[in-house]
């Protein structure tokens, strides 16, 4: 029994139960991403694990050790906030050194470790900078270095890239993912951005109704989200309601009523008139670089299909579902 064990944690704010009887395990050296919409309790869970908030019920364990009653400063966890919680009255070096200094690490080895950390996050030569003079990306790098410096057994990241622009975010996400893996760092990472989750996670845990609704590797979850909520969180678009006969405008997709997911990448569009499938009208065609996202209206449905060719709006196409395109959801 190693790694982080969250057992039956419940937290309420007054009447509102944010977390209910939540269980989660993060194995050693594993990066788990908590994915969920805003207000789903992701940050609350992170604060409970860090020890910044006491759970109303349940335990937090590391290996065999019960952390629930251990004060935050004795837990040996690292935490990176969404935006700039750097100490404004200290320079970059002093910020990164803080945890080491508090732990009583002697000055000489402290300086060495800080330099190593800064070089690890790509900020060589930034030691003497004032934290006011940093860009958004640099700020988050310093925050990461500060959290990693004392060698926490568990690193918690609370939407650390949330305030950065898209391009910077993609680059930093990739770098941090690689860094965590190379360090073998156990980490619990919170985000509402599925691309970030895909890029960084060993496993993704989707939060819903105060619990972990589903947990699995990115590919597992993408292929079979299991529930409508999880499918939405992962950014699936083609969620289709079926009638009692399991039918919709695309034909009979399942045995009975319910919602199914149609994987757009298993849908092929071709010239109409060859009779291979139902015919629809292209209502939108958005060029996305590598692919073009095409939306086709078939009867009362609109279905999104990634296409490698550009298709004109208004043209008629046949929509063909390949095997495995349809996945039933709860």
């Amino acid at each position: 029994m190693s790694g982080l064990h969250v057992e039956g944690v419940g937290v309420s704010y007054g009447e509102l139960a944010v977390l209910e009887n939540l269980d989660l395990v993060v194995q050693r050296s594993e990066v788990v991403v908590l994915l969920g919409p805003s207000g789903s309790g992701k940050t609350t869970l992170l604060r409970v694990v860090a020890g910044l908030r006491r759970p109303d019920s349940g335990r937090i364990r590391w290996g065999g050790e019960d952390l629930t009653d251990i004060a935050v400063h004795r837990r040996g966890v690292g935490l990176v906030f969404q935006d700039n919680a750097l100490f404004p009255h200290r320079d970059v070096e002093q910020n990164v050194a803080f945890g080491l200094r508090v732990a009583g690490v002697p000055t000489s080895s402290r300086i060495r470790q800080v330099a190593e950390m800064l070089s690890l996050v790509g900020l060589d030569g930034f030691a003497a900078r004032s934290v006011d003079a940093l860009s958004g990306g640099e700020t988050q790098r310093v925050a990461l270095a500060r959290a990693l410096a004392p060698g926490p057994r568990l690193l918690l990241l609370d939407e650390p890239f949330g305030s950065l622009d898209r391009v910077l975010r993609d680059r930093l996400v990739g770098e941090v993912g690689g860094l965590l893996r190379s360090l073998g760092q156990t980490a619990l990472h919170v985000t509402h951005d599925r691309d970030e989750a895909f890029a960084i996670a060993d496993r993704i845990a989707v939060l819903g109704k105060g619990r972990i609704e589903r947990i699995g590797t990115p590919t597992e979850l993408w292929a079979e989200p299991g529930t409508v909520h999880v499918a939405r969180c992962l950014g699936h678009q083609n969620l289709i309601e079926l009638d009692s006969g399991g039918r919709c405008a695309l034909g009979r997709l399942h045995e009975g009523a319910g919602t199914v997911l149609v994987h757009g990448d298993r849908v092929v569009i071709g010239p109409s008139g060859d009779g291979r499938g139902p015919v629809g009208t292209v209502v939108e065609s958005v060029f996305r670089g590598e692919i073009t996202l095409v939306r086709v209206r078939v009867g009362n449905l609109v279905i999104g299909v990634p296409s490698t060719e550009r298709v004109d709006v208004g043209s008629e196409v046949a929509v063909v579902l390949e095997p495995g395109a349809v996945v039933p959801l709860d």
Binding site: A50, G51, V72, H73, G76, G78, L79, F81, F87, F98
Partner: protein, 525 residues
């Protein structure tokens, strides 16, 4: 535990004297007392006290707004110098302001004849505006700077004229800051003492001046008590309103919206001329007057400060050194008490923090005069007989200074982002360590700024000191100045002006030091 020191201090030197006033008032039948010195007189005093404060407040806000606009939204050479210059009047001792305006009226021939201003309400209003412009510039200006001009630009792109944008967008947005600033100015004017005594002349009567005249000049303690009780009630009400308005005021953080534009030439010129006339002229005339003697100019008025005149028990120079000593002691006390209280207010349990917050703000309003009078009647007999203690004056000054320390320190401590403490805790810092490593370094500047204010306040303190038993060798400089100003005669006038300039110099140094240290700290006067 931490709360013990400030609570003891506050109880002994503030609560006890104030309760003494109330106790005497309650046991002496206020109704009969008020009857005894005539109901119409009493109503006249109360009415005048309130309307002069209202008029002063309105004038101050109107006159300060253009300067707020200039300083908040523009960048130009000398901006911080101008800001500092507007702050100087606020911390100038009342007696110095009295002296400056006396000199001004004297030089402009406004102290008599058809255009007499000296010893009229106009003199008082003018001096109140002079004093309080800084309050409005600080409060409204920093709010304005923080809230930015995004919505105004929106309004302009939607077709609003600059006047309409001001009327419909800016003023409503400034509302909370205007209300807060006005309430503070009103409070200051309501408790104005030295200015009215010196510039209003012997017949102008507010609650403050009458408490002093009855208690100190006539030795009529019962009447003074009755007036003090009324004043206390009025001030507590005003403080409650001020606190409410202040609590609602959240100074927005400045959005990074690029650099500020340069001001329009005419705006800059008009502002400089206006502020120059209002602030610069009295100060300049005071300087000129202090150097002039028998139609020529020399430093003889200054060298005369070392000579004892019949009017005073010691020379002005001795009074100055007394003042410096008292101010140093008072600053130490105020920083100790105010610092501890601030920590309790920000981090203490709910009810203790609320209680101390209110308790410590009261001396700011509960008027130096009321405080001095309370100490006069309470601390001259056992259990606390401090009549002859050299600590009496510093303690009174510290009480007046503590709210200033807190006004700076509490917001600074509050502004420490909770996540910084959390970050420190997660990194392994114990709660005590978090205080030392996060709160203290961030609040350090605030503490220095507060100390500077406490010092400046003590150096010029007049209201409370004017009640305290005066062993001749404990005369403070403001008291000496007041007596010099109240006596006619060219030589004494010249010496008074020189003394006023020295006091002004000391306070100006304190303010400049504050401005240097202050840096990014905003808000809270």
């Amino acid at each position: 535990m931490v709360a013990l020191v400030p609570v003891t201090f506050l109880t002994a030197f503030f609560v006890y004297p104030i309760t003494s006033i109330l106790w005497r008032g309650a046991t002496a039948d206020i109704g009969a007392l008020l009857e005894s010195f005539g109901k119409p007189t009493f109503v006249r005093i109360v009415w005048f006290t309130i309307w002069q404060a209202v008029a002063s407040t309105a004038l101050t806000v109107v006159i300060a707004l253009p300067a707020c606009h200039l300083l908040a939204l523009h960048r130009f050479r000398g901006r911080s110098a101008l800001r500092a210059a507007t702050t100087v009047p606020f911390v100038l001792p009342t007696v110095v302001v009295g002296g400056a305006f006396t000199a001004l009226f004297d030089r402009l021939g406004l102290d008599g004849g058809a255009f007499r201003v000296h010893h009229t309400i106009w003199a008082v209003l003018l001096a109140h505006v002079f004093f309080n412009v800084a309050v409005v510039i600080r409060t409204v200006g920093s709010f304005w700077e923080g809230m930015g001009i995004g919505p105004e630009e929106q309004a302009r792109t939607l077709g609003a004229s600059s006047w309409q944008a001001l009327r419909w967008v800016t003023l409503p947005r400034l509302g909370p800051a205007l209300a807060s600033a006005a309430s503070i100015v009103f409070l200051f004017c309501l408790t104005s003492f030295g200015v009215i005594l010196i510039l209003g002349g012997p017949t102008m009567a507010t609650l403050e001046t009458e408490v002093w005249r009855h208690a100190v000049l006539r030795g009529d303690l019962p009447s003074a008590t009755a007036l003090a009780v009324v004043q206390l009630v009025a001030v507590v009400a005003a403080v409650a309103v001020t606190n409410r308005l202040q609590r609602r005021l959240v100074v927005p953080r400045r959005q990074q919206a690029g650099r500020l534009p340069k001001p329009d030439r005419r705006l800059l010129a008009a502002n400089l001329a206006g502020l120059g006339l209002l602030i610069g002229l009295p100060v300049a005339v005071l300087l000129e007057r202090s150097l002039s003697i028998n139609g020529g100019y020399s430093f003889r008025n200054y060298s005369a400060l070392a000579d004892r005149v019949d009017l005073l028990p010691v020379s002005s120079l001795v009074a100055l050194s007394n003042s410096l000593l008292f101010a140093t002691l008072a600053t130490g006390l105020a920083v100790l008490v105010g610092g501890l209280t601030s920590v309790v207010v920000v981090h203490g349990r709910h009810w203790t923090s609320r209680l101390l917050d209110l308790g410590m703000t009261l001396p700011l309003g509960a008027s130096a005069v009321t405080l001095g009078f309370g100490m006069l009647i309470a601390l001259d007999e056992p259990p606390l007989d401090l009549r002859s203690s050299r600590w009496l004056v510093p303690v009174a000054h510290a009480l007046v200074g503590v709210p200033f320390v807190m006004r700076i320190l509490v917001p600074t401590l509050r502004s420490v982002d909770a996540r910084l403490r959390e970050a420190a805790a997660v990194l392994g810092a114990s709660p005590t360590r978090v205080r030392m490593e996060v709160d203290l370094p961030i609040a350090w500047r605030g503490l220095l700024v507060g100390a500077g204010f406490a010092f400046a306040v003590s150096i010029g303190e007049f209201g409370a000191t004017s009640f305290l038993p005066r062993s001749p060798d404990r005369l403070t400089a403001p008291l000496a100045l007041f007596r010099l100003l109240g006596t006619p005669g060219e030589a004494l006038r010249g010496q008074a002006m020189a003394l006023a300039v020295v006091l002004m110099g000391i306070t100006a140094c304190a303010v400049l030091a504050i401005e240097r240290v202050r840096g990014p700290i905003r808000g809270g006067l």
